[in-house]
């Protein structure tokens, strides 16, 4: 990809003779995925994603062409095709997108033990160990062990920037299927981390929660008294809440479409004063990078400060367009593409609540009657209506400040984002990373994200 930079720079220069802005993006993904269960074993290279996109901003719209052939010849051919399209488009030279500071940099995430140098047998053994750790649990009928490594090489070029980064990540995931007669329950857990094989954790530690809680949710009933309850979310459940609440709710490409109520609440309170929330592609969690897919250097964004919505997330187009409308919003490094041949949108990275000063035991101890929610599975938010839905595999009853051991499954939280956030009455001190996440824009455009937070005590409608 490095060697493609001169060709991409030439393409940008050619296109900028015809349009106010042009840029080029190239990406190559590689890696391995290993999966072991009772009926199959596989160790396969990830389908290689390699290619580039040339982009021209006409002042009116973006015109883009993507190709899966990252060669100088293919770049030249795509430049001619895109130039031809620009020549036939309306061009408004007055609406140029402001350039970033001049920068030529190369970055690489550190990796001690490159998984690409390991044999298939070694990787399969790692997945087998994970599976065995789950199978050791009671009433486990089937278990799946998965191990993977992902390596991305990314190039961004425009008039002022020539950037190159190499990103490395490893993954461990285990799934247990627990059974008692015809009843079944399945639970998964895992982790991803930046770096190489050295970042894999002890299989027993990865499998511990599945082994502990899988049998507990087997045959567990639904919550008997659905409705609003005092709840404690563990750090992982808090994480998915952060992501859905004012992660999606502050994506500023939605502001341009009048799709986010958050636009009207910048600078206003939206949560309890105990609440701080961040998005940070530079904090070293699994969705971190050095620059986004539009060449903006990664840095943290404080979204909510002491309950006040203070900033949103943006890509370069939404930031420029909001600025053109007189809304001065800080540029953030959140322009991301699913792959080299997808459009950039404003996307989250590592999104999390900031820490408070309580222990989880103290948060639970203050609940007279309620539920402790763990093992989140997915969520959905409505940035316009501020409705939210969070789903999880387990809720444990709390009576008089103690967990009773009574477990209910599955559990769903519904309600209004600000109402939930304003009800936060306690924040834990330990921030945990839920590192397995993937996020869609609506129901597509999947990108790697993480979320996390400390445990939270709040009132929530659960069923």
């Amino acid at each position: 990809m490095d060697s493609l930079i001169p060709a991409l720079a030439t393409a940008v220069a050619t296109l900028e003779r015809l349009a106010p802005n042009a840029s080029a993006y190239a990406r190559r993904n590689a890696g391995t995925q290993v999966r072991v269960d009772s009926a199959s074993v596989s160790c396969q290279p990830l389908p290689p994603e390699a290619g580039f996109t040339l982009s021209a901003w006409t002042g009116d719209r973006f015109l883009e062409i993507s190709s899966d052939d990252p060669s100088p010849e293919a770049v030249r051919e795509a430049t001619h095709r895109l130039a031809d399209r620009v020549r036939h488009a309306h061009v408004d030279w007055e609406r140029r997108i402001e350039s970033l500071d001049r920068l030529e940099r190369r970055f690489e995430q550190p990796m001690q033990h490159d998984p690409r140098s390991l044999s298939a047998a070694t990787k399969i053994e790692a997945a087998r160990a994970l599976r065995a750790a789950v199978l050791a649990g009671p009433r486990c009928r089937e278990a799946v062990g998965m191990v993977g490594d992902v390596h991305a090489e990314v190039v961004y070029v425009d008039r002022t920037r020539q950037m190159h980064q190499r990103l490395h990540r490893v993954r461990q995931v285990c799934l247990g299927i627990f059974a008692d007669g015809a009843q079944q329950a399945q639970l998964h857990h895992g982790r991803e981390a930046i770096g190489g094989w050295e970042r894999l954790a002890d299989p027993a530690a990865v499998a511990a929660e599945v082994v502990r809680d899988g049998p507990r949710i087997l045959g567990a009933p639904r919550i008997p008294d659905p409705g609003e309850h005092e709840c404690v979310f563990d750090g992982h459940f808090a994480g998915i809440f952060a992501h859905e609440a004012f992660g999606h709710g502050t994506e500023q490409d939605l502001f341009l479409k009048d799709r986010a109520r958050g636009a009207e609440f910048l600078g206003k309170p939206v949560a309890s004063p105990l609440v701080d929330m961040y998005d940070d592609p530079s904090n070293g969690w699994a969705a971190s990078y050095f620059f986004d897919d539009e060449g903006v250097l990664a840095s943290p964004t404080r979204i909510v400060e002491k309950g006040v919505l203070v900033a949103g997330l943006n890509d370069r187009h939404s930031q420029a367009e909001l600025a053109r409308r007189g809304q001065q919003v800080a540029k953030t490094a959140n322009g991301r593409r699913e792959s080299y041949d997808h459009k950039p949108y404003t996307r989250m990275t590592n999104t999390f609540f900031g820490p408070g000063d309580a222990t989880t035991q103290q948060l639970i101890g203050a609940v007279r009657r309620g539920y402790f929610l763990t093992h989140p599975s997915n969520g959905m938010e409505d940035p316009k209506g501020w409705g939210i839905q969070l789903e999880g595999a387990m809720a444990e009853e709390i009576i008089d400040g103690r967990l009773t051991g009574k477990v209910f499954s599955p559990v769903v939280v519904t309600g209004s984002v600000p109402r939930l956030l304003q009800s936060v009455s306690g924040v834990g001190r330990e921030v945990v990373e839920a590192s397995l996440g993937m996020c869609g824009k609506g129901y597509k455009e999947w990108v790697k994200v993480t979320d996390g937070g400390p445990a939270l005590r709040l009132k929530a409608v659960v069923a």
Binding site: D37, S38, A39, S40, V41, S42, C43, Q44, P45, P47, P48, G51, T53, R61, F62, L63, E64, I65, S67, D68, D69, R85, S119, A120, A121, I124, R141, E142, I177, A179, Q184, A185, Q186, R222, P226, G227, L256, K257, R259, D341, K343, N378, G379, M380, E381, D382, K384, G385, G387, I388, Q389, E391, S409, V412, T414, G442, Y443, K444, V461, A463
Partner: protein, 456 residues
């Protein structure tokens, strides 16, 4: 890099007992509009070859397997390196032995014959002639002829539909079309091709109610042709929901009959298809048992489900991932799991005749009209998210928009709150509509009424 080179390299490796290559050539055309104004136009093309290999069977009945993907970036030397790595990987990955189909095998598609795939299915539904008529159902000729013009026409259609509902504002439209050519060849001489199109639309309408508050209606749909997206009709429905829903309140709480349709009904029925999959039965983790009832009937309609690859939908095909021919497979009849479906490898492990991977999920029409089913029900038009858990069939969904069709005949718009249940209980006494619809990979009743779901 091309298919012939890959075939030649594979054929020259004596240590490989079986191989298959799937070539995929794809072109994608995308249009993005904000408030009817173009924001972005994109075109993308790609070619890739997915290679699967198996080593000779071991004495213990296993065979090593591996797969990899070749792209135009790869040259001949790269291919050899990839193949060496795959052989090494396969030696470490023993799986239960199975065989790819060849021409003339029972159930296999018979071969490339001038644009028509014929097939041999003993006593099956598919014949060469049927497939000949089916060649068109996978591809929208409007798109294959001129994708740019086809998208342009549907954007105009969208604009007209929005203008017909002046109480709305068209926040966003994303409209995509793709043309995908798939060719499958294997070591036994199968050589099959198909062309298909896919279309995707996602739009958001806004409406400011009398209380000054603006709300949105988000909708998305995917189909094999632009016509099947029914974009204008969807916009009209969305506009009506926005107008009527401006004053929507919370739904009634308690145990209520709930009416669902579209993608949500398809998702629930998909749970049955997933647990009738041979792969689940091989692993002994299927929630359904062969020859046993899948639902306890209690006054509702009997459940019947089939997989039918020649019923048009996004899941229809001319040949499956390993070259088995399109055909119909009934697997739930009168509420009893009577057969399994699934990929050839798992059907072979279970010593059953492979008849193609899951295709269009088909159910017959129900006995009741939609109007009859609506009466006295909470009708959910849109959930935030709604799908059953794979293990237990439990489901929950926050209501984005719906109707409370009160027993006295009044119809009140509702939003907020949620519906929860477990599939096994929900299906007891469930009734299907006479009206049918195709949604994604589902073709069957448009609506289902479930009795006594929990609404909060």
């Amino acid at each position: 890099m091309d298919l012939r080179l890959i075939q030649n390299v594979l054929a020259g490796r004596s240590e490989i007992a079986q191989w298959q290559v799937t070539e995929r050539r794809s072109r994608r055309f995308e249009r993005y509009l904000t408030f009817l104004k173009p924001e972005s136009e994109r075109e993308a093309s790609s070619v890739r070859w997915q290679v699967w290999i198996a080593l000779p069977p071991n004495p213990d009945g296993t065979q090593g397997e591996a797969g990899f993907t070749v792209t135009p970036v790869h040259g001949g030397p790269d291919l050899r390196v990839l193949l060496d790595a795959a052989v090494t990987s396969a030696q470490s990955a023993p799986n239960r032995a199975w065989k790819l189909p060849g021409p003339g095998d029972n159930g296999a598609a018979a071969g490339w014959r001038g644009g028509v795939v014929a097939c041999n299915v003993a006593g099956g539904a598919a014949t060469g002639a049927q497939m000949a008529t089916a060649t068109d159902f996978l591809a929208d000729q409007q798109i294959t002829r001129d994708p740019g013009q086809a998208l342009h026409g549907n954007i105009a259609l969208f604009g007209d539909a929005v203008h017909a509902a002046p109480w709305t504002r068209p926040s966003a439209l994303e409209l995509f079309a793709s043309i995908d050519d798939r060719r499958l060849v294997n070591h036994r001489g199968l050589d099959l091709s198909e062309r298909r199109t896919r279309c995707y639309a996602e739009f958001v309408l806004l409406h400011r109610g009398a209380n000054g508050e603006e709300s949105e209606y988000y909708d998305r749909c995917e189909a094999a042709s632009l016509g099947e997206l029914r974009l204008a009709e969807r916009v009209a429905d969305a506009a009506d929901c926005l107008r009527d829903g401006a004053a929507a309140g919370p739904p009634p709480a308690g145990r209520l009959p709930v009416l669902i349709g579209g993608e949500y009904l398809a998702g629930l029925m998909g749970w049955y298809a997933a647990h009738a999959d041979a792969a689940q039965h091989v692993r002994n983790i299927a929630a359904l048992t062969l020859d046993a009832p899948v639902v306890e009937p209690c006054g509702g309609d009997r459940l019947n489900l089939s997989s039918d690859a020649i019923v048009p939908s996004l899941a229809a095909y001319r040949f499956d991932e390993h070259g088995y021919a399109a055909c119909r497979q009934d697997f739930i009849q009168d509420g009893v799991l009577t057969a399994l479906h699934g990929a050839g490898r798992w059907m072979q492990v279970l010593e059953r005749q492979p008849r193609g991977q899951l295709a269009t999920l088909v159910a017959p029409p129900g006995r009741h009209g939609a109007a009859e089913l609506r009466h006295g029900s909470l009708e959910v038009v849109r959930f935030s998210e709604f799908h059953p858990r794979h293990d237990t069939g439990a489901f929950s969904g926050e209501i984005r928009f719906g109707w409370w069709n009160a027993p006295d005949g009044s119809r009140i718009a509702v939003k907020g709150g949620s519906v929860s249940g477990v599939l096994r209980e929900a299906m007891t006494g469930a009734s299907f509509s006479r009206e049918v619809a195709t949604v994604g990979g589902w073709h069957g009743p448009e609506w289902m009424r479930m009795h006594a779901m929990v609404a909060v």
